[in-house]
């Protein structure tokens, strides 16, 4: 009875984790891994500073523009207006109009242009005012950026970064409030990250810019103004987070809550409520990266807790949560002591009226109620 278990994917996954060696060394992965370790070490030390997500992103952009002449940022209102959400504030003054470029409202056009510049060896950062507008340009992101390296047999890289606010935003109705994590996460050739905290924002954006592949950075407008403590290490200009590595934000033993972006904060609050009301300890995992997905961290946590809940704000059907639930069955079936559950956005175009809008996206009590049900509390 033991032997078949060894053949289960989970066993292979866990055993291969440390054995895997990179086949090609074209991209220095070691640098990323090291800095991740350093972050852990500094977490409790003094020298931390409160930084908003907006400022963290701004800092990441400024540092990368400073460090690499090949990087430039383009998008609507990024320069003279200092960014529609002020993420690019001050960059025009500091780096000039050659490297901080206002584009016309022509998403397909400037995205294609950014891809072309990347094919020619530059490292463009394209800002979308929101990812809802990137729908105008999604063909360029997927067909021109994501697939070219493969189609060329590895001859033609495309080092481009697409960034901007994604997902739920308050009171802006159906065409301006949608989560595209699953859309981009399903595309081979793209990497997709989605930060929650200020450290996430800085470390992931810098990693995205440095990564030699097209990377989509899905930010959230409602997080821009939120401040988080930022460690001394994260304040330095060499701070980079590894793409594809999740972070355990709150360790726990009774339930694994996997979440991403803004929902991480809601999950952490819910975990606190669960502790207060029921005395249970939920482990909260901040995915940070949608693609590649850190299955190892999820399964290792699942092994510990036996119960899995995924919280995200995308549509439920064919989404990030459904994917993680499927993976939990492929790799962690034997560790599950109850069916895994998901809390997601509802299957509805975002309504304008506030009461209906609240019913369309996960709220803290939705998470608490589902967790209590899962734990049979």
């Amino acid at each position: 009875m033991v032997a078949p278990r060894l053949f289960r994917p989970a066993a292979r996954l866990v055993s291969s984790r440390f054995a895997a060696a990179p086949l090609r060394s074209a991209f220095a992965q070691s640098a990323c891994a090291q800095s991740a370790l350093r972050v852990r070490g500094y977490a409790s030390e003094s020298g931390t500073k409160e930084v908003t997500v907006r400022d963290a992103l701004n800092e990441a952009l400024a540092e990368e523009l400073e460090l690499n002449e090949k990087t430039f940022i383009l998008g609507e209102e990024v320069a003279q207006y200092n960014g529609a959400y002020k993420v690019t504030r001050g960059l025009l003054d500091r780096f000039g109009p050659k490297r901080v470029i206002d584009t016309p409202i022509t998403e397909a056009g400037f995205t294609g242009l950014a891809v072309g510049a990347a094919l020619a060896g530059l490292h463009p950062i394209a800002e979308f005012m929101t990812f809802n507008f990137a729908m105008q340009a999604i063909d360029q992101i997927i067909n021109s950026a994501a697939k070219t390296h493969y189609m060329s047999g590895g001859i033609q890289p495309c080092n481009v970064t697409f960034r901007g606010p994604n997902g739920f935003a308050a009171g802006v109705a159906a065409q301006h409030s949608q989560d595209y994590s699953a859309w981009y996460g399903s595309i081979p050739g793209l990497k997709v990250v989605s930060p929650w905290s200020s450290e996430d924002a800085k470390g992931l954006l810098k990693a995205a810019i440095r990564d030699p592949n097209p990377v989509v950075v899905l930010e959230n407008e409602l997080m821009y103004g939120q401040a988080f403590p930022m460690s001394e290490a994260a304040q330095k200009n060499d701070f980079v987070l590894p793409i594809g590595k999740a972070k355990i934000e709150r360790p726990g033993s009774d339930l694994t809550i996997v979440s991403v972006s803004r929902c991480v904060g809601q999950s952490l609050s819910a975990a606190q409520t669960l502790k207060q009301q029921y005395g249970v300890d939920a482990e909260v995992i901040n995915l940070r990266s949608i693609k590649p997905l850190d299955v190892e961290t999820i399964i290792a946590s699942l092994k510990k807790t036996g119960r899995l809940m995924v919280v995200e704000s995308g549509y439920p059907m064919f989404g990030v949560a459904s994917e993680i639930l499927a993976l939990s069955m492929e790799y962690g079936f034997d560790y599950l002591t109850a069916p895994a559950v998901r809390v997601t956005g509802a299957e509805v175009p975002t309504p304008y009226a506030v009461g209906l809008e609240n019913m369309s996206f996960p709220q803290e009590d939705t998470i608490v109620t589902q967790a209590a049900k899962l734990l049979r509390l």
């Binding site: 998403e107 507008f133 935003a169 109705a173 065409q175 509805v348 009226a353 209906l356 609240n358 049900k373």
Partner: protein, 404 residues
Amino acid sequence: MLYRIAARQAAPLRRQAFAPVVRRSVTTDAATAHAENVPQEDDKPFTVRLSDESFETYELDPPPYTLETTKKELKQMYYDMVSVRRMEMAADRLYKEKKIRGFCHLSTGQEAVAVGIEHAITRQDKVITAYRCHGFALMRGGTVKSIIGELLGRREGIAYGKGGSMHMFAENFYGGNGIVGAQVPVGAGLAFAQQYNEQPNTSIILYGDGASNQGQVFEAFNMAKLWNLPALFGCENNKYGMGTSAARSSALTEYYKRGQYIPGLKVNGMDVLATKAAVQYGKDYAVSGKGPLVFEYVTYRYGGHSMSDPGTTYRSREEIQRMRSTNDPIAGLKQKMLEWGVTSEEELKAIDKSARNHVDEEVAIAEKMAVPDNTSRILFEDIYVRGSEPRWMRGRTVDETFYY
């Protein structure tokens, strides 16, 4: 309090050419506009001579510089523009009171475009625009209370609280669209349907100077010309796409020439009479089978791009003040009506008062409207055509799955 805000719009008129910085601007200078032999009767037609600066053309014979109208119509146009402005100012107040959520784009200053167009077409013609849509929604038959109700997210709003500021629909009004430029090919589709159904009608397709650079605008132009669709493309050039001036976004800022192989007509969009005359001419042109036209309505928004934009970082307060005091569409029409003896100061004041009272009453009704019930039935209604829904839609959790 609202009355006090309103008082500001009746700024003194100075009869001077405006905006020396913008070389090619059309002005509302009414010097050459005149009307003679204005009849006593309210509904007896007479001819108005438009200002010499009403139009500029591209590959097109200019429209006549005369417009047949009646005193009744002029008064109605005035009433409509005052209503739109009053409604937008109510929206401004409600937004500042945090009763309106999200984005809210106001058309204060641009009233002559929506009103002039509506007075040139019939309810069988079609209109589609972007998210600065409140005035168009009103002119297409939406009520003030339904529009303000929508802004407040109420059940009796024009879209039942589902759409908000950017998404309003009425008969032959196709929104209220949130993605910049995306409504333009959709508008070509409206014209396609009119041609297909052999209707003697046109589609008015509006977009901003910011949107005019979107690729799909040109894709729509090509199909419309290729298939001779009765489409009146119209760039509402308010000179700024968000915070970017036209010259910083567009290689050619003469938007009426942007159709290349489509004739173009630039219209003083601050002059409701020129706007009406131009659209009337355009409709005849399109309906007679000559194909599409590209209009440019030169206009100006007094406020920011949306409520969150003060609108003063990328343009000077002097520029805004100059437009308000020399080019205001409402004051411009008022002045002409007085000069031509169409009406008296007293009658105009009465029209003002009745328009404002009507808007204020409707706003008060809207503020009392109930919000939608927070039930799954309301949340999931109308995702699909009624009766054709799937058996169920999933909520946030499996427990919240809604069965139709």
